[in-house]
Amino acid sequence: MSDDEGLPGHSHDEELARDLSVFDITMIGIGAMIGAGIFVLTGLAAGQAGPGLVMAFAFNGFVTIFTGMVYAELGSAIPEAGGGYLWVREALGRSQAFLAGWMSWFAHAVAGSLYTLGFGAFVHLLLTDYFGIALFEPVDLFLLSIGPEKIFAVFAGALFAYINFRGAKETGLAGNIVTMVKVTVIVILIAFGLGYIFGNPAEATDRFQPFLPRDFGGVFIAMGLTFIAFEGYEIIVQSGEEVVNPKKSVPKAVFYSMSVVVTIYMLVAIVLIGAVAVTPDLFQLAQEGAASGAHGATNLPPVPDNIADAEVWAILGHLGELGLARAAGQIMPYGTVVILVAGIFSTLSALNATTYSSTRVSFAMGRDHVLPDAFSAVHDEKRTPHIATALSGMLIIFMAVALPIEAVAAATDVMFLLLFLQVNYAAIVIRRKWGDQIDYGYIMPYFPYVPIIGILTKLALAVYLFNYSPLAWYGAIAWILVGIGIFFLYSRSRVRETEAKEETRLITEERAPEERGYQVLVPIANPDHAEQLIRAGSAIARQKDGEVLLTSVATVPEQTPLSEGRRYADDQRELLDEAMQYAPEDVPVHQTVTIGHDIAKSINNVAYQRDSDLVLLGWRGRRKRVSDYALGSNIDTVVENAECDVAVLKTDGTTDSTRVVVPTAGGPNSELAEMVSTAYAESGAEVTLFHVATDGDIEDAQSFLERRQKSFAESDIDVDITVTAGENITEEVLDYARDGDFDSIIIGAAAEGILRRVLFGEIPERVGAEFEGEVLMVRKHRPVQSAVKRLIGKWVGKGAKATNLG
């Protein structure tokens, strides 16, 4: 990703009918939040936070609003269906987007697993307690305990995978009805609960003491555990394309829905603790739950032997996903059955949405060619992405069967929290890169502190969840590692291919490539330097029995499609035609004109697409001391990002090299310099290997050069060697080259650190700038180091630039 891929320029070929109002999408957001999460997770969270559950919900609302502001800002400016995934892709590039998509797929799928398990538990309770149907006891299979809940969960997962395959989709009206029903149920529950609390203030107040039985640690765990119930902004943004006046409506809906939902959650927590007593029935159920371990009650104090010692919050914790439903039985008439029915509808509608979302994410990744193309396959008859649907369904079912419900909940939260880290960071990058071009409908205050706080709080919550469920973290880490493996083994090259195709177009191919093993790519911009570059490139190609590919880049503005660039390529065609006169007879030389938006990127793309082994660039020999570049913007960019070896030739107009000196100190770059000098030697030049012994150990240096000389001799090439003692390598090299009447210096790049940004290093660049003759600087491609540097550069900035120090 770069500046010249303009996020502000995003445009649509299709326009959706805009018919949703602020109220509509606020309801969508509320529906997404007050859903399965609150029905399933409240009991588990009460067990962790105690009466502090009220505070956990309030804190979660406060913490989440930071990311909510990020979503409001970006959703108002870029109201597209892609949401967070799109922003990460645009701001952080396709490799980050792969990770975002990969985590998003898992997050939505595992959220689906949570809802299937919630559904299974609710149906099980309804059938056994209210219909008197006796079901089988859990059966141990290998390491898994399979009870009726899990069977119902598998059934629901498979059913909704099938429904999504059939293409049936929940209609907006049905969605709104489900939302209204569940919100109404919760509001009635709150009303009954508050009625009790106001009628019995002393009893209710007593139940809030001690307020933090498990200290703040329990509150933090409850926050992380219930985080999923606070994130409705993604779906609001996803609806942005269908909203009337999205610039105003989207951010307002994000804020309104947060305000309403957090208030409701806090009231639910208040009535859950204040209006519920530990009855013998509840106590017995909690004992049974604790004994069977069926309700995901983990990290909890044991149920006391005596009912008088039992606290409401601990009992609710042991009731797990059924905590809210059981408590509701005390708060209002038919409370349990009402909550169960509402919970069943909620979990099913949430399961439908998550199956759809996870399918959509994996389908999009298949279409972007970062997952196998099968993911983007569409069924002939149903016209749905059947393979992506099937795999997402299998993932949902597998996680539901393999993990206990609390680990599934924690894994969902961890993955969403990590995903939002990226979105917060993307918001910073987008504001910094395109902030002055984007038409915002809302602007977050205190930038960049708001997204930074969003990052830190989410990271802290995610890490803290390790205390609750290490299994969730192991699962999340395993998933991320598998994703990284897939990315490097499979997706990375396909991402690169896609980028190269999008960014660059080759339009003329004068001679078909002969598939010679080694290729030297020579970009030509100045006709005066063509002869020297072709001579050097041909010498190297000859030595490697390879070929030369000449290219010249025609640039077109960002607004102009590359397909329109042909008409601007005449100058480049003429330039290459003229340069061909310098092509030697004994080396295949081809030419191609490249159309691109950016010269350096186009050169690297051609090198990638044509699998070039070496890029040979011309340089006027002037270093940039003032600007942010070392040798020039294009040279710097090509050298830093090339995926093959690079050589930069100081073009002094020399057309023949008869005496060549090669300063060498060992290492991969010096070896490449020696290889190039071999090519010069085979073209008739006298080559001298030169070493400056800065430590004064002449003998050691001499023996090193003798070994190098011997290796040249094995190829029947005679080279001279010279060792000199000195402290200033640059001056020694320059003096020796001048005194010895050398006309060319071939020098390898200096060693580089991970964090230091160097092109060739201070010594080669100074030699290149100050020597009066030809200088060829070479740098070996080191894939792993380059990838790590690019990654570090992307996250922590470019780093110090050593080349400007001199």
Partner: protein, 53 residues
């Protein structure tokens, strides 16, 4: 000494108020931008070099 219930209630209330302030501020900013009266933003950098808020 303040009991943990009171402390917890105050903290929860403060967090809730903080959220509502962010919501009200958000609505204010959206309305101001829509009316073309909001000057604190990335767009103002190019005009007056003002704050990034």
């Amino acid at each position: 000494m303040v009991s943990t219930v009171v402390l917890g209630a105050v903290l929860a209330l403060l967090a809730w108020i903080g959220l509502q302030v962010a919501v009200i501020h958000g609505k204010y900013v959206v309305d101001k931008i829509a009316a073309g009266e909001y000057q604190k933003g990335p767009f103002s950098d190019t005009m007056d070099g003002g704050s990034n808020e």
